[in-house]
Symmetry: C2
Subunit: 388 residues, 2 copies
Amino acid sequence: MSTLITNIGELTTNAPDDDDRLGTVQDAAVLIEDGRIAWAGASGDAPAHADQVVDAGGRAVIPGFVDSHSHLVFGGDRAAEFEARMAGQKYAAGGIRSTVAATRAASDDELRARLRGFARELLAQGTTTVEIKSGYGLDVATEERLVRLASEVTDEVTYLGAHVVPAEFADDHDAYVDLVVGDMLDACAPHARWIDVFCETGAFTVAQSRRVLEAGVARGLKPRVHASQLGPGEGVQMALELGAASVDHGTYLTDDDVAALAASDTVLTLLPGVEFSTRQPYPDARRLIDAGVTVAIACDTNPGSSFTSSMPFCIAVAVRDMRMTVAEAVWAATAGGAAALQRDDIGAIAPGKRADLVLLDAPTRVHLAYRPGVPLVRQVWKDGDAAL
Amino acid sequence: MSTLITNIGELTTNAPDDDDRLGTVQDAAVLIEDGRIAWAGASGDAPAHADQVVDAGGRAVIPGFVDSHSHLVFGGDRAAEFEARMAGQKYAAGGIRSTVAATRAASDDELRARLRGFARELLAQGTTTVEIKSGYGLDVATEERLVRLASEVTDEVTYLGAHVVPAEFADDHDAYVDLVVGDMLDACAPHARWIDVFCETGAFTVAQSRRVLEAGVARGLKPRVHASQLGPGEGVQMALELGAASVDHGTYLTDDDVAALAASDTVLTLLPGVEFSTRQPYPDARRLIDAGVTVAIACDTNPGSSFTSSMPFCIAVAVRDMRMTVAEAVWAATAGGAAALQRDDIGAIAPGKRADLVLLDAPTRVHLAYRPGVPLVRQVWKDGDAAL
């Protein structure tokens, strides 16, 4: 089965040439065969035959978004908490612990139905690959359920038992870490590719974080880290020592952190929805990119600090408030996400890559930031199949 | 023909009761008959019979958005200018004059196709009433075309010949005002309900603005004003003297302006997309609302300063960056817009009102701000007809 997409006004390939990291082709075409990109280039050079021809009508095509950071398996929501926070009010009830309670109480079928709804929602917004973390179970049985359910919808499953310390271990954090690296890891590792930890004052210390990640690595999981969201710390340096694929958040990076990231293969993943939805200060993407750090953008979809699932929205905020150019933001949301997941088969439209593409209802990718909030995703192909 | 919408988890009526300006009803139903709201209230009290029953599945229903400020009839776009501005670069070409040139060069059919595309786009995002301004023609023939085309898609047409002074009158602004209040007004008044002027340093002086508005009023048009967007001025006071329905922008209001607005029937319409897309400072909605000013939110959809058409996006930004509560922002985007257009038949879900409603894919209106960028509009009824 082959599909030829013709009359593409602007094609973003992320196959860099000398002048353009995004490998932009005007008046372009793409040939899909058996779920992979078979050919991409200028219309005049396009193959003549395909089983099916789709006329893009002069619109823009980009690689499918790769969202490398989400928390999509949970019960309940926290709309009332959000509303109170935005109104400057205190909100007594629960925070993350209310989500943990709702998640533990939900059946597999309830969690699965919700998760599949989110998966459809993401796909309709152009996200063709999503990483999903556990972390709202915080006991062995529930964490196992979360990674198992996540593995039904993505290959990029992250075990985040070390999300926060649950109430029942409030007086003995190290005992909770024992569980995370013990029985909980045993239960979760078979379903996961990644191990993650929230290394931050109030969550897990650097020593505890290192212990968690090293235990995961010993079980064949690959490390990624939440760090420097709420204040500076040693989490970035620890992540780099362990060869983490990505450090996520990074709002409070020291100059040494930035230099070390730039010298490494580790991606720094920015999460614009978090700062938008919590009124925290935005990290400065300009500083990172100018220093040579590889930057990704992800949505961090979760009920507490960022309930958006819209990569176009995150691109628009990254451009306005993190000082990325539109091209940098689109790259960060596609190829950047792929780098943060250490995937070389996605994030670009080039021969041999998976045929994950988005047709925009716009003449150029610039509209993703120029038209914030407007649903611009007209069609999505995932592994070569039209999804909408 | 009657339609009963049942099992509404949260209904926002904007029919105020003692405690709640938004007249919120939990577990509600709405009966539509012949394009109007026949009944709205608690499910237990709902009428038993209707030709058609729609199960809202516990989701939220709100009044259709009333977008009281847009510029939807134009040729071309200015994506390259936007991209350069966001990258901190100078952009030599054209600005608004490039849109004027593209608009003058476009055929009626081209403008009409574009306009209808925008009208569909707005409706799909929950906007059931939109005001549309002229102002990219700036000559008699083109301004007449713009108001005429706008009148094909809305009753809320605004003649904005006094948008900016066109290049051909750069040396004699008053001569352009002569045209605006003369032949151009003659040509446009039959198609319009409103007259508007951009009263700002660099556009039209207070004296010129007054002359434009008074000429329109003498022809039966009702006044509305762009003022205090780029700096303080006397535009607000002038607008109030003339009984303008709304003053729009209002970023730089003096304390006297705020007090005068609060004492008047004039609405202050905030345009969050403009500040988002130009990195200008956000006006402080908290100050206005606390002083007693009636506030609306509109998208100001235009190719230069705000190309969003998403009222949910504008609500989210108004909550985050203008310090509105979610309830205030939802009211401002519905009942507030109706007030800004002096309409008492829209903006609320109450007996006798037009049946313009939005079913959200969310349990509460809070999700409009809590889930920024996510397309949450599941169904729209316009005059009682399902639109999606």
